[in-house]
Symmetry: C2
Subunit: 547 residues, 2 copies
Amino acid sequence: MTYTIGLDYGSLSCRGVLVSTIDGTIIAEDEFVYPHAVIDHELPDGTPLPPQWALQDPEDFRQAFQTLIPNLLKTSQVSPTQVIAIGIDSTASTVIPVTKGLIPLCEQIAFHNRPHAWPKMWKHHAAAKEATEITDAAVAQGLPVVRKSGGAIGCESLMPKVLQIFHEDPEVFENAASFFELCDWIVSLLSGCEVRSTPLLTCKSLWTPQDGYPKGQPFDSITPKLAFHDSIRPIIAAPGESVGTLHPSMAQSLGLSENTIITAGQMDGYAALPGVGIADEGTLMMMIGTSTADMILSRKWKDIPGVCAAMEDANLPGFTNYAAGQACVGDMFKWFIDNCLPEKYTLEARQRGLSNHAYLSELAAVYSPGDTGLIALDWWNGNKSCINDMRLSGLLVGLTLATRPEHIYRALIEATAFGARKIIDNFNEHGLPVHDIVACGGIALKNPFLMQIYADVLGMEIKATACTQTAALGAAIFAAAADSCHSGHRNVFSAIHAMGAKATVSYKPVIENTRKYHDIYRQFMTLHDFFGITCNNTMHFLGDCHK
Amino acid sequence: MTYTIGLDYGSLSCRGVLVSTIDGTIIAEDEFVYPHAVIDHELPDGTPLPPQWALQDPEDFRQAFQTLIPNLLKTSQVSPTQVIAIGIDSTASTVIPVTKGLIPLCEQIAFHNRPHAWPKMWKHHAAAKEATEITDAAVAQGLPVVRKSGGAIGCESLMPKVLQIFHEDPEVFENAASFFELCDWIVSLLSGCEVRSTPLLTCKSLWTPQDGYPKGQPFDSITPKLAFHDSIRPIIAAPGESVGTLHPSMAQSLGLSENTIITAGQMDGYAALPGVGIADEGTLMMMIGTSTADMILSRKWKDIPGVCAAMEDANLPGFTNYAAGQACVGDMFKWFIDNCLPEKYTLEARQRGLSNHAYLSELAAVYSPGDTGLIALDWWNGNKSCINDMRLSGLLVGLTLATRPEHIYRALIEATAFGARKIIDNFNEHGLPVHDIVACGGIALKNPFLMQIYADVLGMEIKATACTQTAALGAAIFAAAADSCHSGHRNVFSAIHAMGAKATVSYKPVIENTRKYHDIYRQFMTLHDFFGITCNNTMHFLGDCHK
């Protein structure tokens, strides 16, 4: 019996699994909640942050693997020698400025109070101008990456974040030896080598296997910092490939064997796709959590407008992975609960021992499509698919004196479902037919009310997996593929077939609801096109005003 | 010394004043809160009401004058013989189906559980289809009243409400001897005669002094019920004119003299105009409360699109009164407090001993124009000026995960200010220049934060009166004019000059804020025109869906 460990670095916590390489059974799992969560108002020392900033504390990331790996070993009672490999996935681009010794710059006293020295989280949106600058330069050079990134390089990727540091705090930029994606940093720490993962390089850093980084400005200003100049030779590898074994000192401190293979890191959504057992085209993975990631594979490259990324070999070799998504889903529902739920509702929920979400879902469930008289545009955190404009913002229309909180809550859920439908329509219309949907992620597991609305809006059956750790499982699958000698899986596909999670729940559309939602969706699309395309200056203006 | 009494029947209470006819000094004032408030979910016996309904209990109206008049006499210590006249104003159209003896039909056991037998409040919006039917018929006949009513007969006026009864409950319609405007009903009860007031007839019932009611369908179906057929001869009179004296039995029960003159009723907004001392053109009255009424006089009739009503002699003889307004202002802020304010805010406000409004205003006041990144369309209860479409609904755009309740609260206040600016721009653009603004109403008195935003958005000084009872005072002024023998005022103009309230507070625009709001207003107008005109089917669709 052999096992692998997968670590999934999310927005607020890191989840770890220890799984059997035979069938992917999760033998042990654990979660490490980041003590510093998201740093979006002020640094720990009180230094205030401007709007749109989102930082994290790198010590949280380090503690995560230091805590989780020993815990998984202990809980599972598996012998360290049976753990043959480790895989890592993380949010991206979460970008860490580091010194030569891989020490985060913000941990140096001289830079502790400098916001730009801290890791910028994926949802740090303050580099919007830099994203435009990068996009303009890439367009001017005719780089195919722009088309493959949905027509624009978004501020959630790496280069705009690094360019913002270059612009706004040159001293931090100069003193950083390099900038790392979170999962690359963890893999580098574990292996003791400088490792960059190809999917992150191609999807988030405009790098290609043929040409490396783009040349010319503004790229020349920042690319010298995207790899160390000397000492250790950087390793460039794909998830499922070995980058070497655990560094001896790490092996000792974590209680693992020095022979443990490390595979290259992967973006969390991209890890979840093998995690839910997808290894071929036709099946859409919809990972619904704080935000939603949608992914589908294709053997042939197709030019599909508005996807976030359509990169060859970005996920599985031989396939282009088409990634779309919605920038805020669970985050928007949480925003509503935190900012819009009146006292009488929270009191009633508390009295009945229900979560606010459960109580609101119960109230909202009595309505039929359209009953609320409301439509929302789900752009509380911008639009990252089809329009691909992070400066767009949320909208709510149809408000009357009779509007109640549960109406708005339902409208927000419906809005995310309409956003999902737009993404699927877009795939279908451009030659990438969606035959099946497999849902995963926290919300897909916990919220059958939402899932039924999704099935009704999409007019399709949605299968959901009961596995709560699909991304971590995917990382463990990549790990198993990276050590085929011991796992017995000759490549990543055989590992997925054996170890991927199975769907256990099914949501089927109610025809009458689908029909009604069809009409409402047309109105949604009128608003979508007006605010997102025809008259996007209204939301841009408001975004520029916002303080 | 002589005195008059003015009673102002509002949405939730009736206010009464007893004032000196010399200078309008309020000697006594009192308020009677309607025990049954607004009946919008179910009848007192539990009979459920459809959406958009708003009824009231006529016994509340009766108790109001029976309670207030004796209280005013008692508090003021004025001798009943010194009270020379009574004036009434009320919301309109608040429509009461009555029997021959002026008994409300809903007070008959057989009709007690029939929603259509109850008084329909002005803001009963369930007769939207009938409003369209009435409008279409009036347009087909080329009736000038359509143009004078802003291009459409709104469902807040009388005829659509009566037509809805005719359509939906023919038995109630048949058994009603007539339908009365609230203030006409009170005046009729007090005087013992059937009295109809000319401003209400012309503004709310399509009646003209020349032609009476319109002929043809659907008018012929309902107009026979708009006056009693026999017995007492109806009196048609204007406010400021006497309709006779107090009925002896009323005089006895109220403790007043049988010689007390009754003047014809007036709509509440129209009573407030003389109440704030306006007796000539150039000055806009802005009465800001649950909704806002804007009024300005003109000696010449001008065709101004989008005003709610532009009726000759509707207020003061010789002037056309241009009435515009916003269908919900305070109502919208109250909706927000009731439905959107999270527990931590209500707890904090309570702990600090502040009202929720005061606490939110304090939080919202730290921002500058635009800082919230939000714009709202203030159509939670439809649009009754410039577009004149009650099927429109509210909108909020610019929402992000950083949006806080105080941002939305401020955006709602700003939206009402933009709505006010649109109304004033419309007057100015069509030859009715607004030189001065006098504000009154509950919100104008209590909310300096809102008033400063209005001054900034409008770029004009706003004067406000400290008088809390401008409509009741206006009713008392009309009463004084109706008994010129004893009051010494030879007409309503001299009564206004002597008795009208004086402005005591001034809000001056801050130039920098006005400049910023100018840009935001342009965005507001983009939304206004898109949702209100170009693409109004979105809101119509949502209104039709809403259950």
